[in-house]
Structure formats: C-alpha cells, structure tokens
C-alpha cells in the first residue's frame, strides 16, 4: 500500500482574510492545551484503526498553524512517528504567515521536526497586501522568506494573481521577483471570489469588480511563460516546482492516495479494511473538541466511496497534474477502468481538439488543464 499522507488542521486565525472560505475561526483566547490534547487524541484514534502504515508526509494546515505552540507541533510529529512508520525523508510541512512575530518562531518549528514551510506571502506589493487584508507588508514577507530559506531545507510560498485592476506587466514584474526569491516551490492562485467571503459581499455591493476575462487569461499565459523560463513549470494547475521538489503531501491528494484528516473540518480518504472511506470532522472547533473528548474522535460524516464516485474524484484530481493518471493505478484504486469512467465520444473529441493525450497515461494538455472544469464536465461519464 502507498504511504499515508497525514493532514492536521489548526482552525484559528488572528483575522479572517476577505478572500478566504477555509475553515478558519477568530477567537479572543485560544485554549492551546485543550486543542493540542484533542488533536493528539484524534490522531491516536485514527492511527489505531489504520494500523501501522508507512507515513509519507505530514501537513499542518489551517487556519494559521504558525499560531500553534511549537511544543504542540513537536508532540504531534512525535506521536505520528510513533503511530506510523515514517519514511526517512518524510515531508513535514507547516503553513506560516510571514509576519515578524510568526517568523520569529520558525526556528522553533524547525526544531519541532518541520522540514518544509509554506509561507502565505500572497503579494509583494503593500497596497495589494492591504487590499487582501493581510497583516504583513512586503518587507516582512521578504525578510520571512530569507529567514525561512536559512532554516528549512524546503520552502514554498503562495501568491494570489488575477486581482482586480492587475495588469499583465505588473504581474510579470511581481512574478519575476517571486521567482528570484523562490527556493524550489511556488503556489500561484488566480483570485476566486468564493461564496460567503467578504469579497463576495463587496462584489454584490458593487465595491469590487473582478478582473476581466481577457486579462485573467493573459495573466495565466504570462505565468506559464515566466515560470517555464525559470524551470518552474506547473506540475499542477496552480503549483510550480523544480523537478523533484513537488509537494509530496499535495501529490497524495491529486494522485488520489490515502490521506487522513485530523482536526476540525478536516477531510480524509482512508482505506479501512479494504473499504475507501470519506471522512469529515465537525467543522466548529469547540464542538469538535467536545466530540473528541467524549468519544475519541470528532467525525461527523463517514461514508464508503462507491466506485463511480472514486472514479470521478480520481479524475478531477488526477487531471490537474501534468503527469496525468496511470490507467493501472486508476483501475486498482477506483475499481473502474478509465474506459468505463469516461464518455468515449467526448474523450475522442477532446483528444482531437488537443485537450487530452491518452497513451501510457491519461493527461490533460496545457490547453486542456486551463479549461479543466468544462473538460471534466464533458468527458466524465
């Protein structure tokens, strides 16, 4: 069996960013000890039913996991290593904000066992950072990047593109600087106005106008061009890495491998006794903690994933990757062949149009990936 990917969710933030629809919560005071204990308890519960498996990666996401006490991170890593057989090169990532306070704790996280950090830089422009509701400025971001590079063997950071009013030229300049600052991995997300966010409310009131489609497309093209020039081509829709530096943890999602999700609102896909289970924990932090304290875990949903659901999930994740989908692995994982999962007529139309290549693997081409949502709608049966 492929190694397990372990996701640990820290649900708290100092403030909610206007574009964010993640499961994050702002509290005056956080009972660090209580949530640390609950996370460790839920990890132990999940590990007990998964059995002693190989562990390929741990990912601390949020929320803002850099607000966790480094001791908690250390304890969770130690627990995981105890419950599972951690690979020697086990990738342990922690998401961090580049404020000076959080940057100050980076060494402690490294000491706790974190070997890869993902910084939420979002922009290298102060005006934009204020618009995005971030608590750091560009100077802090650059400093945090420099510091993180000293401390961690691996480093990634995020930028948000296709922001209202952004020009292609300005984006190219920002991206070039980012590529110069980058170590081996970058996530470049086109801004999406998600339901329930502050940005959505602003758009409704006419205070925010999304970037026009033509410019968004031009920015997408410029991104591909600039990153390829620096040997950082996309290995996934929004993720760029030097060869070998891809996020192993995220690859587990896109390759549709087993991942366990610990913490409020965390999702999982885990094989238990030959059945693939989709799991989800209670979203709200305190009720989740109560559940864990009462029953050892905060699971609210747990369903067996049917073969056709597995096939759709494997396709919608796998075609995001430049490497595509291995037909044998797909069949073994989903119980369906690609031929059974895809509409033959539409698949061939997509191949003829240059959106799909299908030989040893099934891949969306660059032209296909940029239209992946429509492409999936067409070819998935």
């Amino acid at each position: 069996m492929e190694p397990l990917a372990l996701y640990i969710h820290w649900p708290f933030c100092l403030a909610k960013c206007p574009y964010c629809d993640f499961n994050s919560h702002v509290r005056e005071r956080i009972d660090q000890a209580r949530f640390a204990a609950a996370l460790r308890a839920e990890l132990a519960w999940e590990a007990a039913r998964l059995g002693r498996r190989r562990l390929g990666s741990i990912f601390f996401g949020g929320g803002t996991p850099s607000l966790m006490a480094p001791d908690t991170v250390a304890a969770l890593i130690a627990d995981a290593r105890q419950h599972f057989d951690a690979a020697e090169d086990c990738e342990i990532t922690l998401e961090a904000n580049p404020t000076s306070v959080e940057a100050g704790r980076l060494r402690a996280f490294r000491a706790a066992g974190v070997n890869r950090v993902s910084l939420g830089v979002q922009s290298l422009d102060d005006t934009v950072l204020r618009f995005l509701g971030r608590r750091h400025d560009a100077g802090e971001a650059r400093a945090a990047l420099a510091l993180a590079r000293e401390i961690f063997p691996r480093l990634s950071f995020d930028l948000i593109t296709a922001r209202p009013g952004q020009t292609v030229a300005a984006w190219r300049a920002e991206l070039r600087e980012a590529l110069a600052l980058a170590n081996d991995h970058l996530s470049l997300y086109q801004l999406t106005i998600e339901p329930g966010t502050a940005f959505e409310a602003m758009r409704r009131r006419g205070e925010l106008t999304e970037l026009d489609e033509n410019t968004a497309v031009a920015i997408y093209d410029a991104t591909a061009e600039e990153t390829a020039r620096r040997s950082m081509a996309a290995y996934e829709i929004s993720n760029h890495a030097r060869p070998g530096a891809e996020s192993r943890h995220n690859l587990a999602y896109w390759r549709y491998e087993d991942y366990a999700g610990i913490g409020p609102g965390a999702h999982g896909r885990v094989s238990v006794g030959g059945t693939l289970l989709a799991t989800r924990r209670h979203r709200a932090p305190e009720p989740w903690a109560e559940l864990v304290e009462r029953q050892g875990h905060g699971t609210t949903d747990q369903n067996a994933v049917a073969p056709e659901e597995r096939a759709r999930e494997a396709l919608l994740m796998g075609l995001r990757l430049a490497e595509g989908i291995d037909p044998m692995r797909f069949a073994a994982r989903t119980g369906m062949t690609l031929a059974e999962a895809l509409d033959d007529t539409m698949l061939h139309a997509a191949i003829d149009e240059g959106y799909i290549q299908f030989d040893a693997t099934l891949r969306a081409t660059e032209e296909g990936r940029r239209r992946l949502d429509a492409l999936l709608g067409a070819i998935v049966r």
């Binding site: 999602y253 989709a278 999930e313 949502d373």
Partner: protein, 601 residues
C-alpha cells in the same frame, strides 16, 4: 319592457381610435340615461376584462340597452353596441356592425382621424350605416373642431357640418349625442311574423350561466322555451333565458325584431356558437340564413412552449379554458427537439396572439416562450394539389413544390409628413407595393399592399420607431399571391434547430439569417469546443458565426478538503446537461434558444 314599437328602437355602434374616448362616451351615455347607479359606475363599464381595461381595447362585443325620453316627448330604446376595437377582429367587427343601423364616429378634436378609425368607418359605410360624426375632447385647449371637421369631410367624405361637439370626460353635450341618435338614425326593419332569424353577434362563457350569446333579432321573436337551431352547424339547443343588458343582465319574456339582447341555452362551449351565424326556430326554421357568415380562420400561427417542461399539462388545461371563451384561436400539441413539448396555436392576428399569450401568463401564471409567428402559406405541389402550411418544419422538399403563395394585406398608414420618407422606406424594404398616397392636412395617408409575413416580423416596432410613435396603422387581408419563398434553417454545429427555422422571401433570407446567427452568438455561452452557427437554405449556407472555445475555466485551488464538493459539483453539472440540447459535441442550454426567441417578441 320589450314591447317597444320597432320605430322607437335605435341600434348603434361607436367607432373610434384607441384613446379617442369611445369607452368614456359609452359610460356617459349609460350614466345620463340611468342604466347604472352612481355606485355601480366603474370607469369604462363595458370593458369588463382586466386585460381589455389595461390596454383600452375591446375584445368581446357587448351591448347596453339605454332608455331615453327624447325632445319629441317619446320614449326610445337605444341599443349601444360596443364592438371589438382592433383589425385582428375585423370579421367580428363586421358582424357587430351588421347588428346596427348606424354609428357614432368619435374623433378626438385635437388629434383628428387615425388609420384605425378609417378602417372601421369604411366597414360601417359598407354596412350601410348612417354615420353621426362626434367631435370629442372639445374642452381641451388643443381642440381644433373646424380643422377636424374638414378632415372628416376630406378623408372620409362624410358631411361633418352637423358633427356633435362634446366632451365625454366632462359630460358636455351628451344629450346632443342621444338626440342625434333618435333623429338621424333610421329605426330597424324586421318582420315579427316571419320565421325567427337572429344574428349571433358574439358569445362568451359565464361560470354561472354557461355560454351567453349576444344576439340581434332580425325577424320573428325569441321566446323562452324555444328550440333554437344554429343554421351553420345545425346544432339544436333549448333556449333557457332571454334578456337584455342594462348593462346588467335582466331577463325578459321575449325579444322581437330590431331588439338586441342575450340568450342562454345550456351551451357548454363558445366553439358551438360561431360569430355571424343565424339562430332560427327549430320547429319553424327560416329558409335563408342572414348574409355575411364566415367561419373564423386563423391567419397567424406560432408555437407556444412552457419555459418549464413540467408546465406542459397546465398549459394544455389553460388553453382549453381559454378556448371555452374564445373559439377563434386554435391549438394542437407539437414537439420540438429544441424546446420540448408545446402547442402550435393559430390566431386571428398579432394582437390576438399577444392577448392570448398575455392571458396565459397573467390568468394562469404560465411562463411561455413563443416561436416566431408564421402566416398561412399555400403550397402548390408538383402533383397539382394545394396544402396550407403554417409551420416551417412542415415545409415539403423544394423538389415537390411547384410554387408557393403567401397572404397579402392592404395596409393604411397615417403619418406626419416629416416621417413619411422613413415609413415609405420601411414599406419598400418589406416588399410593399404602394396603392395610394394622399395628404390629410399635414399628414400623409399611405395605402400599401404588403405581404403579411413581412408584417408579423417586427413591423409594428419598426414602424413605431421610424415614425417616433406618430404613425398609425391598420390593415385588411387582401388575398394570396405567388412568391419566391424559402425556408431558412438555423444549424448549430451542423444540426438544425427546428424551433428557429422560418420562412421568408428569398430577398430577405440572408439578412434575417444573419441576424439570428449574430443573436445566437451573443446568447450561447462559450464552451469547451468552438460552435458553428449557420443559417442555410437547403444545403446552401447563407450566414455563419463562430463562437470560439472558452479561454479558461478551471478551479484555482483543489486539495484534499475540496474533493467531495468538487465531485458533487461535477455530478450537478452532469445533471444540468439533461436540460441541454446536444449538438454534436457541444451542448446548448435550452435557455439560449428561449432567449433567442424572446428577443423576437
């Protein structure tokens, strides 16, 4: 109540352009003669249907019996016939006029004669009416009675020197109108001893009484308990109630020659009551029916489809209910590949179509889509037979067609001089043939022969816009003529879209085909694959548009926590495709076709 001697009866209609005050005058006449108490007077009593009220038009004929003691000291019965007020109902108007001996020609003293007035006054003249000109709104500062009087003489050729000057709104000189009716209109003629002949003027469905028939007795008497026979169909019904309108329904024992009133006879649907039919006594039938009867024939057809496919049965029921009260529209179920299940419906004209559509949405809460209206063509096949065609989908292969005839109209357009050029250009663009062009003061009156199919295609809208709303328009059917007509199919990625096919003159085909292609290009959202939209005559493409593939459509972030939601979105997307129409490898939402058709309206 009905023992009035025939020489004390006057039957009259009111002819007027919309807004020139017909209904207001009718209300005044009822008020002055005491037909209704003050409390019962609502504005425009006669236009009882909500829709009629809103549009200021009359769809059904109605009558009111007015009692008037004239200056000669004698009591008269004045029967006011309110006629349908639009050209679509020209035949119904002619039957209403046939029930009267005279007409009031009401003209707005500031606006003057309009095209609609003209068409109706000519019909009244044809019906041998004594016509009394009435100048209304005489109290308005803009009133020019002398000019309008002159206009009536110049345009219509009527002596207007004795025109009655009134203000229906303020009640000035209503008595003058009543006196003119008594002194200037001839009394009706009729033989009380002859077998019964009553003209069926109109009928409507009343939930309590069943079908109520509006009649004018020509000869003989209508008595309760008679067995009535409809002379056109031979249908026999037991007469249950005879009465008059005051305008309330008041039952009487009988109605003699010259009288107007209503009858009920346990008739379930107005389809059994053809306007213009002669009602006679089944035991002692008349030998000859009254002249002028014509069965009603739809001249304009279109498909009506529910926007929501689940409403199909509701639409069927609603059409059935409407037809209870309006036998002049026809419907039959049809299926369209693009629009699903619906009905092919026939109407007396464009207004009639619009009224039915509006009533369906208003009274039955249906959201409908109408395909482009089509006229009735006559297809002469190479085998020598003739078939009528009103659905482009039914057009036979050109190799089987010898020639096609299309219906023409004779249109009368009145327009201020400064807009005449634009109106003439429009008529010429629409293949019009000028029959007459005269001036009435500073207004031109253009009489044109036009193919009806050019008029059903947004002619009113264009006329209004090129004349800045000043042109008035009226028409009569004017026979069929051979024409070079073609069917234009609209294709999406090579597949024809049945609901968008239409028939047009060859000279207009390319322009219209291109217009539809351009419109669809705007309406169909970009998709994964590029989409070709073509208009074609047979195999020959006459217009083409291409919708390019969408440039980008991808979720930026998708990690472990997003999979379930994304999968469900994908499944929903698949489900949504059931409402799509597949054209090769592209799927077009039905809503795009609906919108394309809506823009025609």
């Amino acid at each position: 109540m009905t023992d009035t001697p025939i020489d004390r009866i006057r039957n009259f209609a009111i002819i007027a352009h919309i807004d020139h005050g017909k209904s207001t005058l009718a209300d005044r006449l009822i008020q002055v003669t005491g037909g209704l108490s003050e409390r019962e007077m609502t504005n425009q009593v006669l236009d009882s249907m909500e829709l009629e009220r809103e549009r200021g038009i009359t769809i059904k004929a109605q009558t009111v019996r007015l009692a008037w003691k004239a200056r000669d000291g004698k009591d008269y019965v004045l029967n006011l016939m309110d006629t349908p007020g639009h050209v679509d109902f020209a035949y119904e108007v002619s039957r209403s006029l046939a029930a009267c001996e005279g007409s009031l020609l009401v003209v707005d003293a500031s606006q003057g004669v309009e095209a609609q007035t003209l068409a109706n006054v000519y019909q009244a003249i044809e019906a041998n009416h004594e016509i009394v000109p009435v100048l209304n709104k005489i109290d308005l500062p803009a009133a020019e009675p002398a000019r309008v009087r002159q206009q009536i003489e110049d345009v219509i050729g009527l002596d207007a020197s004795d025109a009655v000057e009134i203000s229906a709104k303020t009640g000035i000189n209503i008595e003058g109108v009543l006196e003119a009716l008594v002194t200037r209109l001839p009394p009706p003629k009729g033989d009380a001893q002859a077998p019964l002949r009553a003209l069926l003027v109109d009928s409507w469905y009343d939930p309590y009484l069943g079908v109520v028939i509006l009649v004018r007795v020509k000869d003989g008497r209508l008595k309760r308990g008679m067995r009535l026979r409809m002379m056109s169909t031979g249908g026999v019904h037991m007469l249950e109630q005879v009465g008059v309108f005051t305008p309330k329904l008041v039952a009487v024992d009988d109605l003699g020659p010259g009288e107007m009133g209503y009858i009920t006879a346990a008739i379930k649907t107005v389809a059994d009551c053809s306007v213009g039919d002669t009602i006679t006594d089944d035991r002692r039938p008349a030998t000859e029916p009254l002249p002028g009867f014509k069965p009603s024939v739809p001249v304009v057809w279109c498909g009506l489809y529910p926007t929501d496919a689940d409403d199909f049965e509701k639409l069927r029921e609603s059409l059935g209910k409407l037809r209870l009260n309006d036998a002049s529209f026809h419907y039959e179920a049809e299926t369209s590949a693009a629009l699903g299940f619906g009905f092919r419906c026939g109407f007396l004209g464009l207004l009639h179509l619009e009224i039915i559509q509006e009533r369906l949405s208003r009274e039955f809460d249906l959201d409908l889509i109408a395909t482009a209206p089509s006229v009735v063509y006559r297809i002469h096949s190479t085998r020598g037979d003739v078939a009528e065609l009103h659905n482009p989908a039914d057009m036979p292969d050109p190799s089987q067609i010898d020639h096609i005839e299309e219906p023409w109209i004779r249109a009368t357009i009145l327009v201020p001089d400064e807009h005449l050029g634009a109106v003439l250009t429009l008529c010429n663009e629409r293949r019009g043939q000028q029959a007459d062009l005269t001036y009435v003061g500073n207004r031109a009156m253009a009489v044109y022969r036009l193919p009806l199919n050019e008029v059903v295609f947004d002619f009113y809208d264009r006329l209004k816009s090129v004349s800045r709303g000043y042109a008035s328009f009226d028409y009569q059917m004017d026979g069929y003529a051979e024409s070079d007509l073609v069917r234009i199919s609209i294709m999406v990625n090579g597949d024809p879209v049945d609901a968008l096919a239409f028939i047009a003159h060859r000279s207009q085909a390319e322009k219209r085909g291109r217009a539809i292609c351009e419109r669809l290009k705007e309406l169909i959202p970009k998709q994964l694959f590029k989409i070709a939209i073509q208009a074609a005559i047979g195999g020959r493409v006459i217009a083409r548009e291409t919708i390019g593939a969408l440039a980008k459509d991808v979720t930026a972030k998708c990690y472990g926590g997003d999979i379930t939601r994304k999968r469900k979105l994908l499944e929903k997307q698949k489900e949504g495709k059931k409402r799509m129409r597949q054209f090769g490898k592209v799927e077009i939402p039905q809503s795009a076709f609906l919108a394309a058709l809506k823009m025609d309206a």
